[in-house]
């Protein structure tokens, strides 16, 4: 088991991160234009100074190697993350100054914006897990009844109505018409309600579908009948016997999905004007902020890798057959 996990981490996680960073680095460098491309070109002295400040005058391979070196963790004090999310203080990772926000470093931007996205994402993930798995299990237990059809209809609706449609609609209904909540902003605790539910419901729908499918399959198997026959209560059958197998495909899907949910959905953060990292993703690409793009990609890539790894661990624990292969 331990060997399987270690292999997984070495053979998959590290290469994935490396490829993501390399691809992003060179793709944006080979794209025409740059962070200082304006209508009017800068005076050559200023351009030279800027290039020197951002090390843009070095050969490309040197810039690349230097960046990779700055990315390597040089110490390990995760407890420092408690006071602030600065990756430099905790791991010695330097993400360089931002091109667009002249006075801020990418470390600082991530330190202020990632916690917002994480808070929104964690709450949304809890909503998605509770609603999705709950509804999926209930639908599977009452398979082919009106409850099942209701859950299926709801989860299909969730799949077909994207967040950038449901978000404004929820905002229109609950904020503009009913005036229960603010249409956007991120100032008081209740401002989190709308974005959390819009994001959570979007992820709950596919989760309910996967859970329902998996549970129906497991509940039809012989060992469940045996458990029922020997008099196990309904809740024991579900929680102790069926869930472990029934949630396998849902857990596999949750790996990449939770990385996306935790680092913030750009659409949801834009609609509700949440100052999170998801919004920074696209803005930084269009403004050609080289270091900020790379920084967000590093964070996002790390989350994907970690979440996939956790999903793998969970799957291996739930299905020992996988670990043996």
């Amino acid at each position: 088991m331990l060997r399987y996990l270690a292999r997984r981490l070495l053979l998959q996680a590290v290469p994935v991160l490396f490829v993501i960073i390399t691809l992003t680095f060179f793709l944006q460098r080979f794209a025409p234009g740059g962070p200082f491309t304006r209508e009017k070109s800068l005076p050559p002295e200023i351009q030279r100074n800027l290039d020197a400040y951002y090390h843009l005058d070095d050969p490309l391979w040197k810039q690349y190697c230097d960046y990779l070196w700055d990315l390597c963790p040089k110490k390990f004090t995760p407890l420092a993350l408690r006071s602030s999310f600065d990756l430099k203080a905790a791991f010695g990772i330097d993400l360089r100054p931002s091109f667009k926000y002249a006075s801020r470093t990418v470390n600082e931007i991530i330190a202020t914006e990632l916690p917002v996205s994480l808070k929104l994402g964690t709450l949304a993930l809890l909503v998605a897990l509770g609603l999705g798995i709950g509804a999926g299990v209930v639908a599977a237990l009452w398979h082919n009844t009106w409850i099942d059809r209701l859950v299926s209809a709801w989860s299909l609706t969730g799949l077909c109505v994207p967040t950038f449609v449901s978000g404004p609609l929820f905002s229109l209904l609950f904020a503009v018409q009913l005036r229960w909540l603010n249409p956007f902003g991120w100032y008081e605790p209740r401002d989190a309600v709308l974005p959390v539910f819009v994001l959570g419901l979007a992820y709950a729908a596919p989760l309910a579908r996967l859970t329902r499918g998996g549970m129906i399959e497991v509940l039809a198997q012989d060992f469940i009948r045996t458990a029922r026959a020997k008099g196990a209560s309904a809740s024991r059958v579900v929680f102790h016997h069926a869930l472990r197998g029934g949630l396998l495909s849902a857990v596999a899907w949750l790996g990449p999905a939770s990385a996306g949910i935790l680092t913030g959905s750009f659409a949801v953060e834009t609609i509700f004007q949440v100052p999170g990292l998801g919004r920074e993703f696209v803005v930084s690409v269009t403004s050609r902020d080289y270091t900020l793009v790379l920084g967000t990609v590093v964070v996002y890539g790390t989350f994907i890798v970690v979440c996939n790894f956790l999903a793998d661990v969970l799957q291996a624990w739930m299905n020992p057959k996988l670990a043996l292969e």
Binding site: L27, P168, T286
Partner: protein
């Protein structure tokens, strides 16, 4: 005694002659699925509306009439007008052309890449297969939004030049913005083929162990011929099903990109840009959000119904990995 069935049980000759091929059988099952039929006919109606009736629509999608800006739905403008007084119905029909076109063409790109890649990996097996699938795994872990966005930005200038060249040709002056759409086809297609590749690989690996493939090999056919004439036709069921399910995913991605302002440029519109415009002024003009959002969701519903129906009809195991 022989274990042949008694003579009486042999069906009458007429019925025996009307034996069903697997595809006819699937079609019969699909016809009985009301939701799938509803999805299929809605989709057909939408395509007809957008591509056939839309171009002849009396009101222009680009003609501005500032005096009638932001008018609520009325007899003159059934779905109201936008900020510049353009008829929303005409714009939705026009936007549908872009959205559906991107959906279908990008899915086709994804289908071609995915089927070829998966078939080659599954057919070769061994080290080539491991290498190809590991590469696909890595691609799968990439933040795809970033890749598509980077591609859109990266190819912006070449496409601008392509646009100028294209519109300079006689009779093609109305094709402005075609370059951007081509980039979207390529960019979306390039990230959406991974699931298809994995599914095709699995089926090819199963099929290549069948006896009829061995027979084809014994007959001395070249591998390419066996792969494309014998293996792939037998994997067509799952390919059709997942192609149908790729279209809504692609359309969602296109709308998402347009919503972020990275999709088609004004004065063209897709459903994504219409939703974006609507979301910006939903407080005073609900119709700008509700109608484009509604028709977009309706399309996704239809495609999903059709895809699920096809999956049941062709009896493809729900093998989402």
């Amino acid at each position: 005694m022989s274990d042949r069935p008694p003579q009486l049980n042999i069906p009458p000759p007429e019925e025996a002659a009307a034996g069903l091929s697997p595809w006819q059988d699937a079609w019969r099952r699909l016809r009985r699925n009301q939701l799938a039929i509803f999805g299929g006919s809605t989709l057909l109606a939408l395509v007809l509306l957008c591509f056939v009736i839309g171009p002849f629509f009396a009101q222009s999608w680009r003609e501005q009439n500032l005096a009638h800006g932001l008018a609520a739905p009325s007899a003159a403008h059934w779905l109201g007008t936008d900020l510049h007084g353009r008829d929303l119905l005409a714009r939705i029909l026009y936007g549908g052309r872009i959205s559906l076109l991107v959906g279908f063409v990008a899915s086709f790109v994804a289908l071609t890449i995915g089927v070829t890649y998966g078939a080659v990996a599954g057919w070769q097996g061994g080290r080539a297969d491991t290498l190809m699938m590991r590469a696909a795994d890595i691609l799968n872990a990439l933040p795809f939004t970033i890749i598509v966005i980077l591609l859109l930005v990266f190819l912006k200038d070449p496409m601008q030049r392509f646009d100028t060249w294209l519109t300079a040709l006689p009779g093609l002056s109305g094709w402005q913005g075609a370059g951007k759409i081509l980039v979207m086809f390529a960019a979306i297609g390039a990230v959406e083929w991974l699931t298809m590749a994995r599914i095709v690989r699995g089926h090819v690996m199963a099929i290549k162990k069948m006896e009829y493939i061995e027979a084809a090999r014994a007959l001395g056919y070249r591998p390419a011929r066996i792969l494309f004439c014998h293996v792939l036709p037998n994997a067509l069921g799952p390919i059709v099903v997942y192609a149908t399910l790729t279209v809504p995913a692609v359309m969602m991605l296109e709308a998402f990109l347009s919503f972020l302002g990275l999709g088609v440029d004004a004065p063209m519109s897709s459903w994504g840009t219409l939703i974006k415009d609507g979301a910006e002024r939903m407080e005073e003009c609900w119709w700008l959000l509700v109608f484009p959002g509604g028709i977009f969701s309706l399309t996704l519903f239809s495609l999903n119904f059709l895809g699920d129906g096809l999956r049941d009809a062709l009896d493809v195991r729900a093998a989402k990995d």
